[in-house]
């Protein structure tokens, strides 16, 4: 169908996007790789030459590395479990006939549109403040002592804030998937007297399988990079320092570029492992 002329025109039209993204990917990536093999302390002597794999070794042997890995895993896994489980339930609820469905949908989706610094700050002050926060009022009402959420229960608090932001995303995608479910199949199951739980387990859940996988993969990539929520609430203190936050601190706070860059390379490898799975699914989808 396409002629030779239109083909070369097509290539020309693609060029700007491809070149820009290639530059955006390669230039910083090569620089990060380069710095990761050097001792580079801009404030303490500048670039002091090659160190081989020293930075890579130092990054993983530093005492903050494993806690950061653990923190990252806990945040990612907890948020995934919370958002997917609640997302499935919520999507099924929203799929039922009801009055004002459109409005409820918007109420549920709204947190996704709130900028991360706002949601972090609102939760931190207006809900989790140990003196004037709404939770403190609630606790006092029931005669309990208010909790200093962001210092005594920092991880659950951060997980809760991030889950609140991502639940709408999971719900919305799962709802879209549920709505594409063939109603006849469910009706047939109903006629055969299959109990609701079995219908859910054998028809709805398998149908949602692909959407759940996609939610998990996309969220994982974003959750590995959670930043503003930690920056604003705890600044990485009280056991909430994730891998990306640790790298951020190495690079911008302690200005140890070599060490931070080695950490950055680890983060890139980690993200790519997740990305490969996501791309496989997306790629398959392109074929049909």
């Amino acid at each position: 169908m396409a002629t030779k002329a239109s083909r070369s025109a097509a290539r020309l039209m693609m060029a700007p996007a491809v070149i820009l993204l290639l530059g955006w990917m390669l230039v910083p990536l090569i620089m990060t790789l380069w710095f990761s093999f050097r001792t580079y302390l801009p404030l303490r002597g500048g670039d002091q030459g090659w160190t081989g794999f020293d930075n890579y070794v130092r990054f993983v042997t530093s005492s903050s590395f494993w806690p950061a890995v653990q923190t990252t895993l806990i945040i990612v896994l907890s948020v995934l479990i919370i958002t997917v489980v609640l997302g499935v339930l919520l999507a099924m609820l929203l799929d039922q006939p009801m009055w004002g469905q459109g409005v409820v949908r918007i109420l549920v989706i709204a947190p996704f549109f709130v900028m991360p610094t706002v949601s972090a700050l609102v939760w931190k002050n207006m809900f989790m403040d140990p003196v004037n926060g709404l939770f403190a009022h609630l606790w006092r009402f029931f005669g309990a002592d208010p909790v200093s959420w962001l210092s005594d229960a920092a991880m659950p608090s951060v997980i809760m804030i991030v889950s609140w932001q991502w639940l709408p995303f999971a719900t919305l995608i799962l709802l879209t998937a549920i709505q594409s479910l063939d109603g006849e199949q469910l009706e047939a199951a109903e006629m055969d007297g299959a109990p609701k739980l079995k219908q859910f387990w054998f028809i709805i859940l398998p149908h949602l399988g692909r959407a759940i996988t996609i939610v998990i993969l996309i969220q994982t990539i974003f959750l590995l990079a959670v930043f503003a929520e930690i920056f604003v609430t705890t600044g990485g203190a009280f056991g909430t320092r994730t891998l990306s936050y640790l790298i951020f601190q190495r690079v911008l706070e302690s200005q140890n570029i070599g060490l931070g860059s080695a950490g950055g390379v680890y983060a890139i490898i980690l993200a790519n492992i997740v990305a490969i799975f996501l791309m496989r699914i997306v790629g398959k989808n392109l074929d049909n």
Partner: protein, 276 residues
């Protein structure tokens, strides 16, 4: 009887869904309400839900004290320009991939997606350094470029999925009638693609507006958008709940309204066409 049962079910569904919906929305609602209270009422114990003296004082104070207009303007410029430039770059690319696909189209699309997966923190210093060297640190131009680049894969992908739904027969018919490539794009594709382009624009504007890694790390005073404006409240100033709420409400209100229109496109844009 059957009818009675279904309407009872509907009532239960409605109640449950509204209860959950309001619970999830509550933090936003509470912020909006608090923004109209006085500082004293904002921290009153027990908390006051609706029965307070509504005031616009906080909005006034925030605008006077913090040069809110400049932050707002920066947000609009950064999100707006990056979206427009992104579209100018992405429309031709997505068009050619959708209508003149080659064997490599799929690989190119997936590769573009992979650049989106690059963790920002991994390339933070190189970008920071380049920004200093080029004098782009704390400049709107620099942020426009970065924001355009980080969202370009999403724009290309979204447009691609929209363009693919335009039937190819129409193009063939136009070609038979002797339409040139330029005419094809201008008179046939563009009108058919406008809804797709509009929703891509909307979603991308929202994503750029809310982006909070690069905006926090690459700006200081001049180019700081609303994300940074709000983050500045994490200092003790944040303890003034009513003013914090007013500032927050002003930062999220435009996007909540835009988001209202974009909820359908959200799924397509964020799943790269894998869920429709």
């Amino acid at each position: 009887m059957a009818r009675a049962v279904t309407s009872r079910r509907k009532l239960i569904n409605t109640t449950a869904a509204w209860a959950v919906g309001l619970l999830i929305f509550f933090p936003i609602l509470w912020t909006i309400l608090t923004s109209f209270k006085t500082e004293g009422q904002a921290i009153a114990s027990p908390p006051i839900f609706l029965g307070f003296d509504w005031t616009l004082e906080n909005y006034k104070t925030v605008m006077e004290r913090s040069n809110y207009a400049r932050f707002l303007w920066n947000s609009i410029i950064i999100a707006g320009l990056s979206t427009i430039i992104g579209l100018i770059v992405a429309v031709p690319a997505a068009w050619s991939m959708a209508f003149v696909p080659s064997r490599r189209t799929k690989d190119i699309l997936l590769w573009m997606l992979s650049t989106k997966m690059l963790p920002a923190v991994g390339v933070l210093y190189p970008i920071y350094l380049l920004f200093i060297k080029m004098g782009l640190l704390d400049s709107r131009a620099g942020l426009v470029v970065v924001m355009m680049l980080i969202n370009l894969p999403i724009i290309v992908w979204m447009l691609y999925t929209y363009f693919r739904e335009i039937p190819g027969e129409i193009l063939e018919a136009a070609r038979m009638d002797g339409a040139t490539l330029k005419e094809e794009v201008l008179y046939i594709l563009t009108p058919m693609a406008i809804p797709g382009i509009a929703s891509t624009m909307l979603l991308n504007f929202i994503l750029a507006w809310n982006e909070a890694f690069w905006t926090l790390n690459l700006t200081a005073v001049n180019a700081a958008p609303l994300t940074a404006f709000i983050a500045s409240y994490s200092s003790p100033e944040g303890l003034f709940f009513a003013k914090l709420s007013a500032a927050s409400t002003m930062a999220i209100a435009p996007i909540l309204i835009l988001g209202w229109f974009s909820q359908k496109q959200l799924v397509r844009g964020l799943t790269f066409g894998a869920v429709k």
